[in-house]
């Protein structure tokens, strides 16, 4: 049987992959996808700890995280569309007008 540690290591690996994606990629859509990977890693942690503690609260928190992720994806993609209309690019380095 896989133990708690197995799941936590898997979750850590997924979170690190998401972090690497945010830093490495230069495409706004891929960065949003990496954020989704990180959210899912955290979701897995919540479910695993809920299972280990024998409570449903972990699953309910995951339910709320999924809702917030949906809202974040909708607003984030709307922003991406707006930015793309302005600059014809998805490279975050091209939106540096406010950079000091």
């Amino acid at each position: 049987m896989p133990t708690l540690d197995h799941y936590l290591v898997l979750s850590a690996a997924l979170f690190a992959i998401g972090t690497a994606g945010v830093f490495i990629r230069r495409n706004l859509i891929t960065i949003l996808l990496s954020i989704e990977i990180m959210l899912n890693a955290v979701n897995l942690t919540f479910v695993v700890f809920g299972r280990a503690l024998g409570a449903v609260d972990g699953q309910i928190i995951v339910f709320f995280v999924i809702t917030v992720a949906a809202a974040e994806a909708a607003v984030g993609l709307a922003l991406v569309i707006g930015l793309f209309r302005h600059r014809e690019s998805l490279n975050p380095d091209s939106f540096a007008s406010l950079k000091w």
Binding site: T3, H6, A12, A20, I29, T30, V47, Q59
Partner: protein, 183 residues
């Protein structure tokens, strides 16, 4: 155990390929595969409700939203003409900053995973075998959701409304004021 390694390996490999792909459409499709593997892990963890929610909401709704946007924006690859012009204008410096940020990102991710695994293995306490009984029936989830978490549930509905209005407002084209646009 076999299923855990199968689903876990699928999730990790698919996520890595999401990061490695240059075409955003492939990234989105691979992320759906990763979410499917995670939903299998939820089933293994006695959370069938979340597994179904994961498929319906994440893979079914959010990823389709991403796919719509990728296709709406005509799926520009990472190295578009704009980037080429930018790189040509700034000379080799731009390339070196890009590879520098890439090395920094990879280093940061490696440090993060080493630190997390170290924290997990160094921790005190018994490495948890899960308790035999599981409480996570859909009935228990629903009861807890509509009693203990009722306020959070209602606030979530307001959040979704706000997000919907905000997305429509941000993504629509500017209406000329002469035509009676509110903005």
């Amino acid at each position: 155990m076999v299923l855990f390694y199968l689903f876990g390996a699928t999730a990790v490999v698919a996520s890595l390929l999401v990061i490695a792909q240059r075409n955003p459409i492939y990234s989105v499709l691979l992320l759906i595969a990763s979410f499917g593997a995670l939903s299998g892990l939820y089933v293994l963890l006695d959370a069938p409700f979340l597994a179904v929610i994961q498929i319906i909401v994440y893979a079914g709704a959010i990823m389709v939203l991403f796919l719509f946007v990728v296709m709406l924006l005509n799926a520009p690859h990472e190295d578009t003409d704009y980037d080429e012009r930018l790189r040509g204008a700034e000379g080799p410096g731009a390339i070196s900053t890009r590879s520098g940020s890439m090395r920094f990102g990879a280093l940061l991710a490696a440090a993060l995973i080493v630190e997390l695994v170290w924290a997990l293995t160094e921790g005190e306490g018994e490495a948890g075998l899960f308790p035999g009984e599981s409480v996570s029936s859909v009935r228990a989830i629903g009861r807890s959701l509509f009693t203990d978490y009722a306020l959070a549930f209602e606030v979530t509905s307001v959040l979704i409304l706000v997000a919907m209005v905000g997305a429509v407002l941000l993504a629509r084209r500017d209406v000329p004021a002469a035509r009676g646009g509110v903005m």
